[in-house]
Symmetry: C2
Subunit: 250 residues, 2 copies
């Protein structure tokens, strides 16, 4: 009866696939929205009809829609319907590493390992990682290039029982990729982002003038079981880098 109601046409759901039905539906909807086949502001079919046409139950349809609502792509109003709002915003905040970001952005990352050793954790690091002071951690110092220019000076401490790495590993992969490969998936992190002026040696390494503004970021990451995986203290050239965040609030 309403005219701006956009029916979601061809759907191929694979019931034998290990991918959950609700996720298949959500993915399909997301594609349609991103391709613009369902324009911003348009209402989508109501749950009940959509479920019937797709041949799935209403809870399954609801779950798919809910998934996209949480990502900020859809908005629902009781008695009104479900509308497309924001095709771009996907996830609230990415828990990814600089390396992944650069690869995704075609910025030709390169990593130079300046230092790699096992040391007893200092009090500050032990506190950040919830370890007893003196526990052995791997200390990593890296210089990250993008497009041939230095971009960031990165320091990390990782408990030895979490990960053992070689220089070659670090040169070829991002730290988070190595963590994930070792079976440690970061799930929760606390970050502090600040700024300060570069000291003389920092400026030299990063090819900046002394006193240039640097972005600082310290982060501690935990896995799903609450085990601390990584402490990082990084310096970025503010002239070349900034943090982008997408927030969404319930």
């Amino acid at each position: 009866m309403t005219s701006d109601l956009t029916p979601v046409r061809p759907v191929h759901l694979d019931r034998s696939s290990p991918v959950p039905l609700y996720y298949q539906v959500a993915t399909r909807l997301q594609e349609l929205i991103e391709k613009g086949e369902i324009g911003v502001g348009a209402r989508i079919e109501n749950e009940v009809d959509l479920a019937e046409r797709l041949g799935v139950s209403r809870p399954t349809t609801r779950r798919a829609i809910q998934y996209l609502v949480e990502r900020g792509m859809l908005v629902r109003k009781r008695g009104v319907g479900t509308q497309v709002v924001h095709p771009k915003v996907r996830r609230p905040v990415e828990l990814s590493s600089l390396y992944d970001d650069l690869v995704a952005g075609d910025r030709a990352p390169r990593t130079e390992v300046l230092d790699l050793k096992v040391i007893p954790a200092s009090d500050a690091i032990a506190t950040s990682l919830s370890l007893t002071p003196g526990t052995e951690v791997t200390w990593i110092e890296r210089l990250r290039y993008a497009g041939g220019e230095p971009l960031a000076l990165m320091h990390n401490a990782i408990p030895v029982d979490v990960l053992t790495v070689t220089e070659a590993d670090l040169a070829a992969h991002g730290l988070y990729e190595l963590l994930r490969r070792a079976g440690h998936v970061p799930r929760i992190a606390t970050q502090v982002i600040g700024a300060r002026s570069a000291s003389a040696p920092e400026a030299r390494i990063l090819a900046e003038k002394r006193g240039a503004s640097l972005l600082t970021m310290t982060r501690t990451a935990w896995d799903a079981a609450g085990k601390a995986l990584e402490y990082g203290s990084h310096l970025y050239r503010a002239s070349r880098y900034s943090f982008e965040l997408n927030l969404s609030a319930g």
Copy 2:
């Protein structure tokens, strides 16, 4: 049979309340976890038993638990159970204003309104707010103090149909509080955080030396319906302020 299984004892659910049952259950669980009555690492009762004891259905119990999982307080593993992980981390990222943060932190905020006028939106601002260039916006320039010292120089542009404010309003309240009071609830925002050196006038206003490092933050915020509410471009004294973020990833 397992020993670290913590039964959730006294529960009073109000079925006549307008507050959903799943939310009542979630709130109750959250209290127990925050009070430490269910310690970190402890397993909670399995869904089926918990549901039966509470006198609610399994989906309702699941939804309550899911709610806490998304907030990073619980972790579930199929075949294993549900564990408490991180009582502190609550919400992934807060969509709040600096003023709210300062009030919450007892830092005695004060706001000085430097400029307040209605102007046609520049191209850049119009783009950020998804307006047609030339649409009238309220332009606000504020200096925020904390503990008697200048902390941030804030510039905002707000579509005139969203909010009309007086100097007195701005001096006494945070911008987000005023927005919410006017019925505009920010739900989605994109932020860019960077750094640069202070120009001479900026340094003078913020009581810093020329060339001092400043944190920059630009943000655009939208409401649930996708209407742009606010564009902000802010400067923070890096020596006094940093951004804290809690991330969680699925």
